[in-house]
Symmetry: C2
Subunit: 324 residues, 2 copies
């Protein structure tokens, strides 16, 4: 079995051995740039770990792993334009460092190169299966991004709608990566589907955790400004849960804060205090745990010896137990 | 054999029978909008005609034909953002009618839906082959668009560079469509490749013709303002041919005009007169004919009876003989 650093090394080696074309430089330089901003390569690593549940020869899955990483970076490049984000991982976003045209076109070609890697498998049946899963997930990611955009201008978003949005926008790609890892290994459809749901449900748990960390994270460990979501009035799991469970007559303070700008004095502390009074972090944690449990139930049903699942179980557990 | 209206009817029926999902509406409405702006469906029609060279049962190729049409419209949607184009076929472009975010995201999902149609073939070998050709062509289209953008800020573009750019940006998609049509019919690799080159070379001839029509077209028949390329100082085949063949000491008048704005009085007539004095339209026509001849040489080598090729030969000839 390969540990995480060994997997990451394989992924990076594959990327180095399969670079973008040299020309046109203006098209491909931004692709290499975003890929080298220090992403954790979590999705391709999970894909390889899914493959390794079934077989020791995981190198065969590298083109699919790299395709998933390219897709993820394509979506970041385009999302950054849509969100007018100036920075990613502390560096200028592609459309900031170059321009919007570059961000669009380099993103487009990176998406198509993802399909090129998928199509590089010798076995046509594997290509067809991988492309089908990839299509389904990629379409859902775009749909999730659209719902996220829609939610910005809506004041009646419900918690189930939010969970469906994060499921589409981020969770299905984790699930799809693992399903593709299973396909590369020649696993049964049932096992591939269990891995899809394992990744999908864990992905929802990750997003709830992200929402928790943004408000309750340790500033020393959290990469971004703690409280950023509150300052920007983002409709996170915490806000929507609070609006869901609080009696109408108690909601006015929170609703008033949600109409203030980021400069309103004491905003983060005040909103956090409302969350605390309503036990929102506990409720969010409970819901996160529920998704986590459901996820692991699917992993349990994958038909390989439990020892083979240890690495995957441990990685997901560690990632989901990061400090509040 | 099906005539062109019959092919177009099949294509539209397939589109109607395979609509985008209903939701999210904000994502898919712009996709349907651009598809219904009155495009001629030339690429999917050529794909079906390529299939019909080999077999009477052309319906099997419809998913590939529709995928090519979706790809074409994806590229239009994103190109319109990059070109800041307000209108397409007299109607507001997607990013004008909605916004840039919509233009990016709806384009992205339309591209992925193109792959979804490709992946809908039962035979995995066909899926894998189609996806490979589609990837190669789609990457080249992006690269061509990048070269086109690069050329805007270069003053030393050569005619061979220009031809390579239009080959990538527009011609390979015609070639790829016909190659995919052959693949859908189970044609031999040699025949599929001849059809690729037939479409590619005809596509270059089309683009030279477009450049000619923009300057020399009949205003009553030409959809756009005749002389538009000259007014915008576009580096067309005509300009680059003139700069290539004129002795350095005679180029200054043309070079001076290329530095004026669209409001310079008498610009179109003056530049056209320089072209005429240097027999540029004749030279452009000769080069167009050369590509056309090379194209038809490839069609001749496709191993089916000559009677089966009549419809394709006639359509391309008619399209390439439009009035100057």
């Amino acid at each position: 079995m390969h540990d995480l650093p060994a997997l990451l090394k394989k992924i990076d080696n594959y990327g180095v051995a399969n670079p973008f074309p040299e020309a046109p430089r203006a098209l491909y330089e931004p692709c290499s740039y975003i890929l080298n901003l220090g992403g954790k390569r979590l999705r391709p690593a999970l894909l390889l770990m899914a493959t390794e549940l079934f077989t020791d020869s995981i190198d065969r899955a590298l083109p699919a792993a790299w395709a998933v990483e390219l897709f993820h970076n394509f979506s970041l490049m385009h999302d950054d334009i849509m969100d007018a984000a100036p920075l990613r991982r502390g560096q200028p976003t592609v459309h900031t460092r170059w321009n919007t045209t570059t961000g669009i076109l380099s993103g487009d070609v990176m998406l198509i190169h993802a399909y090129r890697h998928l199509a590089s498998f010798q076995d046509a049946a594997v290509v067809a299966e991988l492309v089908k899963v990839f299509n389904r997930v990629a379409i859902e990611v775009c749909e999730g991004q659209q719902y996220d955009i829609n939610f910005e201008t809506r004041n009646d978003v419900t918690l189930p709608e939010y969970i469906r949005m994060i499921e589409l926008k981020t969770a299905v790609l984790l699930g799809g990566a693992m399903e593709m890892g299973a396909i590369c290994a020649g696993a049964s459809t049932a096992d591939a589907e269990h891995l899809y749901h394992f990744g999908r449900l864990a992905g929802i748990a990750f997003q709830i955790q992200d929402d928790l960390l943004d408000t309750y994270g340790d500033p020393a460990k959290f990469g971004k400004q703690v409280g950023g979501d509150i300052l920007q009035n983002k409709k996170t799991f915490l806000v929507l849960k609070a609006l869901e469970i609080m009696p109408a007559e108690n909601r006015s303070a929170l609703e008033t804060w949600l109409q203030t700008g980021p400069e309103a004095p004491g905003k983060v502390e005040a909103v956090r205090s409302i969350f605390d009074q309503n036990r929102i972090p506990e409720l969010a944690n409970a819901e996160k745990k529920q998704f986590q449990t459901e996820a692991f139930n699917h992993l349990e049903q994958v038909g390989v010896p439990v020892t083979r699942k240890a690495a995957l179980r441990e990685l997901i557990t560690t990632l989901l137990d990061r400090d509040r």
